[in-house]
Symmetry: C2
């Protein structure tokens, strides 16, 4: 790459860092890339760090020493996330979203990468401090949320299938009871899709009693894997007993009245301690 | 937002633009955001434009006039894409990827957002000049590729389901013959998931004879929608007759020998005119 001026370097380094979250980049990489002294690179990084942190884009960690470098950690302040989630709650409260079988129609909203990326940024902010090997979800609607989260965490995604038509070699299947339908269903995962002892973050779009998430947890036991965290976009507050206790929700559905088609959606437990969310 | 120096503005504007591809941003948005004169903003944008274009990040279109502003169009040069695809081809040629039923195991590679985002960038570069309303795929493995493409094109994604368990109101279903299994299968799409007359870009991970893509095209007729383009990550060159003629492939699988477990994967038709790809 040709030698760049500081102004051009700042543009290119910003793009380079944003494309590589949770990745350690040695200063020499930048110094060689731009044919610049490490001291200049350090000054550039100080400018980027200040903007990233003051604008709520994320942190820029600097690690000193021979194995040192810089690492971009996406982290959105909860206040910014809350403003976004409040708008989403408003959209979710539209009466025509109530479907037969106590389902909430969200596919139109989940079809926008701009929304799924925002949600991924929130989950990455919530779980970014933990040691995670892989993000897991079950097909279909959780997939874009899992990929968005994994992109910000620089992790791979494992997708649990709901059928047995998988064509990926030997498969582990379990039966589980979906909390809503009370029917026995099957989910499966190819043996080679997940290493044993993996630390797993579970992401899904919707959780009622938690039967599906509990099913994924049971499946993980077959792989001797452990669950580091559970994140759901919307939880239903209409449930007497949850099968899963420890999870983060970004929004909470309650007060569904199928006759009047009224429902309430409020920010989820992720925002419970946020100023301005207490009175809700 | 507080008044920023040029260096800080460049970092923040770069991030702002990268998060909003194919979106017209009026200069006044930046001028107000940074409390700066439009002339300063124009100078900033000229610097960003030069870096984006010289480094193969994309184009920065400037539209003059009252309705004017700036628009970031992600566009990766084919030469950069080809280098990435060549490495991918090498990984796909591993013998253990051959599965019973002429399937190729790719889930491990598709599990990385860094790969799906690169592929999305290529499809967005290939189809970015066309008028498109929505990106469509069929569950499951095409989903991350469709979302990555849609993110770079600033479009929503529509996911065709393979079952009838959809819980999204009235549904249109069609039967189609999968080119490989020769079995009749069903795919369906909620009526409210796609507006009539939509212009659709179809994205999928793998195409053999094209039965699945053809199925999606038939389904689209039920919505009076039109197909603007078809993009597949890997096509099989082992097919006598394709059901789909007009498509872009990024890689091409051929020479599969199930006894010796040998196979060849080369760059796809997207690179056919690229220098250095002709001799393959």
């Amino acid at each position: 790459m040709k030698k760049l001026k500081r102004s051009a370097r700042l543009v290119e380094m910003t793009q380079y860092l944003l494309e590589r979250p949770h990745t350690l980049i040695p200063l020499t990489t930048f110094a060689e890339r731009y044919q610049s002294a490490k001291s200049s690179i350090s000054e550039d990084l100080a400018i980027i760090k200040e903007v990233f942190e003051s604008e709520g884009i994320g942190e820029l960690l600097t690690l000193a020493g021979a194995a040192g470098g810089v690492k971009y950690i996406p982290r959105q302040p909860k206040s910014a996330s809350l403003a976004f989630i409040r708008r989403l709650c408003g959209q979710l409260e539209q009466p025509e979203r109530i479907l037969p079988g106590e389902y909430l129609y969200m596919s139109d909203l989940l079809s926008y990468p701009s929304l799924t990326n925002e949600v991924g940024k929130m989950f990455a902010s919530a779980f970014g401090g933990q040691e995670i090997d892989v993000v897991m979800t079950v097909e279909t609607k959780g997939i874009p949320l899992a990929y968005a989260t994994a992109a910000y965490l620089n992790l791979p995604v494992v997708i649990v299938r709901r059928d047995n038509r998988v064509t990926e070699g030997s498969v582990v299947s379990i039966n589980y009871v979906s909390g809503s339908s009370k029917r026995i269903q099957t989910m499966s995962l190819a043996r080679r899709a997940l290493k044993e002892q993996s630390r797993v973050l579970i992401i899904d779009d919707f959780m009622r009693a938690g039967g599906t998430v509990k099913g994924m947890m049971d499946l993980l036991q077959e792989f001797k894997a452990s669950v580091v965290g559970v994140g759901v976009l919307v939880e239903s507050g209409e449930v007497e007993e949850h099968l899963v206790d420890d999870y983060i929700s970004l929004a909470r559905l309650s007060g569904v009245d199928f006759k009047t088609r009224q429902l309430t959606v409020a920010p989820g437990n992720y925002f419970d301690e946020e100023e301005g969310n207490r009175t809700l």
